[in-house]
Symmetry: C2
């Protein structure tokens, strides 16, 4: 096989450096999830197709990876009224497609595929809650860090396999959950050294309220989709798009105060309150945001800020209360987190009245932001502390005794496995970023010593083999 | 939807307790892998079909999960000479199968599926090494802990999705690697508290040597398959099976010493040496085992033992040197680990002369063994330290200040989100295994105190809110 092997488009191999950095982010998330009382679950990579299909809209269904049933497919020739073979199916169809003669074989798919790869973690979570409802203590705070798959067209920063990192609570409509989720975002990003992170918040009821007030309740989606673009197309662009969608001038005029909210979170809420004073939904939304804001101010955040963003509409289709989105400071990058409340999380699987609220962390984007800002701690790379060189069997036997002792003490050390040329062994140590090189030659073997060299400075030490643990313990705390 | 949702057969949901325990095992493995200088990589869940197919034999190919191409399938009606629709494909084929009329639609599969789920971690590792050979420092010691998928018939202890945990070195044929892998097995199982684990070792060259000596070189596979059953069917059973496979009586008689090897590892090797003195292969195998055994005796093992097992033949098709298998003491269970050396790991992808040696840990079986022996540390469950009860908003606000302070100090604490009936909140604490319950009532609110109750004993403490951190710090080290 002369061709170099490749991986499917939209997928990635992760090198040791990348895995270490991803694990670092995940461990910070996991540590905080657990500190906040969230418990881990894991669900299978594939679900029965009927668990997933129809849950993400038509576009979503199309993007779900389907798995072929295993076993053999056999069909009856006579009943098929096929020619003696099915070679026509095996040829290249592209050169004989003509529109009126097409048969849609998608109907066939349901017969040959009954399982599909997980598209997100929310639907499997809802399925889990319903299936295991008798074993769960509600409110159930769960976190889940697993890959998901989407047959999206791959492009920069968009992959067909990627991790989702979700924390959700189901079974309580207390707004304290929203307060805690803001704190949780702050805790994770602060621990990662990502300061001044903006946690933007809105409420579905505010959006409904605005739509009510301007008389565009029937055009809520069009209205919010346009509003959501404020950042990109400006006030005039938003107004233009609303006009195109058939929202009357007079209604659009009523929106003006939205674009000039000023002051702190509380003051902005007050101004919004005047605009929405006629809408029950709107007033409820403001009350909820007030509760969250007041308590966050009281409890304080480490390094993040909580900001009101009335244009925030992500996932409007299912969110019913709070809507969150997080953006990093100093790096131009989409959101690095998002979430919200959905009042009927498990209804799709027959368990009614289970309100849920959750947030998600965007692992890939957080990775890029930390990399750009140089925020990965050096210790994450975790190269071994020392490489013992290999000058032959007698030396190797002597070295391995020290290597074994050091490992038993918790040190990460290695011996080069072959008695290769010293230059090759040194290169290996350098390329792997191993700071110390230890060698045992004939003389050391006689004296029972080890020669230790710190590569960065060239400094050399002669250490008795019996003292090697305390030598390294002195340089490096475990 | 009235029907309770289900997951595909052969897959599993993992509860918080199970995830915590699995993570505990994985963290012990990961810690030791890194201590021994192994570096983590991750590969995509699915590979191009041609990367996987043909690598695991015909049976393996059948067990690989194939993924349907995304997008739509359209074919030309006229060319298909089909009736106006393809309903016949959509009906239930079972009731109209007759042998002579079957068409094998498997040939169709290659057209509609170009990707497949990973079947093991070894082939993706070989693919990774070849694809990234210019970025890798050889010898490359990598570990990989990821799920794999097999369309096997599910049964007790056999799943369609399960984790593999592999450590392999590629690019060195040094026997020090085998020595280290024995140490690594010992380190992991000792850290898990699994004492007296038997690490069984054999060598492919020993098996070839025996076959040579008894003149059954052309029946090596039949011969080793029979020998491998010694545990189950006894000496007579083995001899009977060999006879059935056409191995002559006289040859089988020569085997007798194999069944009565006695003494320690070194002594057994000596006896085996006499039997194999005529076989170059056999002598090489004995030399290799001697090197490994001598050095392991010199370096010592913590709690495991290394034992010679000349009947060990697992994976004979690809192993070329050492063969490992690990069994737990005190629990009747198949192997909890296995591995070996394969001289041409990356040859299938065009990179020749890359010897590899590796071991695998059986996560699911290790889990069962630890559970049966009660070896999971209690701390693994990791329930929150305290639940703050919720008696209403003013009390909750007061509580959340302590909750926030405690979390910032690293404590795992929670507040019940709703002002539910106290009994319900207490039940929640008990069911989740939370040891302390903290309550703030009207009087506490006035005094600035917290009432702390240790559920196990009923003991109660009144603690000033400002002192709550030191109160818990005194009880629990972080």
């Amino acid at each position: 096989m002369a061709k170099k092997p490749e991986i499917p488009k939209g997928t990635r191999d992760f090198s040791p450096e990348e895995v270490a950095r991803r694990q670092y982010i995940i461990s910070v998330m996991r540590g905080n999830f657990e500190k906040y009382g969230y418990q881990p679950i894991e669900t299978p990579s594939f679900e029965n197709s009927d668990t997933l299909l129809g849950k993400y809209g038509e576009e979503g269904d199309r993007l779900i990876f389907k798995i072929l049933n295993s076993g053999n497919f056999f069909y009856d020739k006579t009943k098929l009224e096929l020619p003696s073979d099915i070679d026509f199916l095996l040829g290249n169809p592209a050169d004989r497609l003509s529109k009126e003669n097409l048969i849609d074989l998608n109907r066939f798919t349901a017969k040959i595929s009954e399982k599909a790869l997980r598209y997100d973690l929310t639907v499997p979570f809802a399925r889990y809650v319903v299936q295991h409802q008798n074993d769960i203590q509600f409110p159930f705070k769960r976190y889940q860090i697993q890959p998901v798959w989407r047959a999206d067209r791959p492009q920069k920063g968009r992959f067909r396999e990627f991790y989702q990192c979700d924390a959700d609570v189901v079974g309580s409509d207390s707004l304290w959950q929203e307060v805690e989720l803001v704190q949780l975002y702050d805790a994770v990003f602060s621990d990662l050294g990502l300061e001044n992170t903006k946690i933007k918040i809105n409420n579905r009821k505010i959006l409904s309220g605005i739509a009510d007030v301007i008389g565009a309740g029937d055009k809520l989606i069009d209205f919010t989709v346009a509003l959501d673009k404020l950042d990109k197309i400006g006030i005039d662009g938003v107004k233009k798009e609303m006009t195109e969608k058939g929202i009357p001038e007079s209604a659009i005029e009523k929106l003006s105060p939205l674009f000039s909210l000023s002051g702190d979170f509380g003051q902005q809420l007050e101004q919004l309150g005047q605009l929405l004073s006629e809408s029950a939904d709107g007033k409820k939304g403001i009350e909820e945001l007030q509760f969250i804001n007041t308590n966050i101010r009281m409890l304080g955040l480490s390094t993040s800020t909580l900001e009101l963003d009335v244009t925030l509409a992500r996932g409007l289709n299912y969110y019913t209360g709070a809507i969150f989105e997080v953006v990093a400071d100093k790096v131009a990058m989409g959101s690095i987190g998002g979430g919200g409340r959905y009042d009927d999380l498990t209804g799709i699987f027959g368990l009614k009245n289970m309100s849920g609220v959750g947030i998600s962390f965007g692992l890939d984007r957080i990775y890029i932001v930390l990399e750009e800002l140089g925020l990965f701690p050096e210790s994450v790379q975790n190269a071994p502390l020392a490489l013992f060189l290999n000058y032959g069997n007698a030396e190797a036997e002597f070295s391995m005794q020290s290597v074994t002792k050091l490992r038993n003490r918790g040190f990460r050390v290695e011996m080069y496995p072959d008695a290769a040329k010293p230059a090759k062994q040194f290169t290996y140590a350098e390329k792997r970023g191993i700071p110390y090189v230890v060698s045992v030659g004939e003389q050391e073997l006689i004296d029972g010593n080890l020669s230790v060299k710190l590569l960065a400075t060239g400094e050399k030490f002669t250490v008795e083999a019996d003292d090697i643990e305390s030598f390294f313990a002195g340089f490096h705390t475990l």
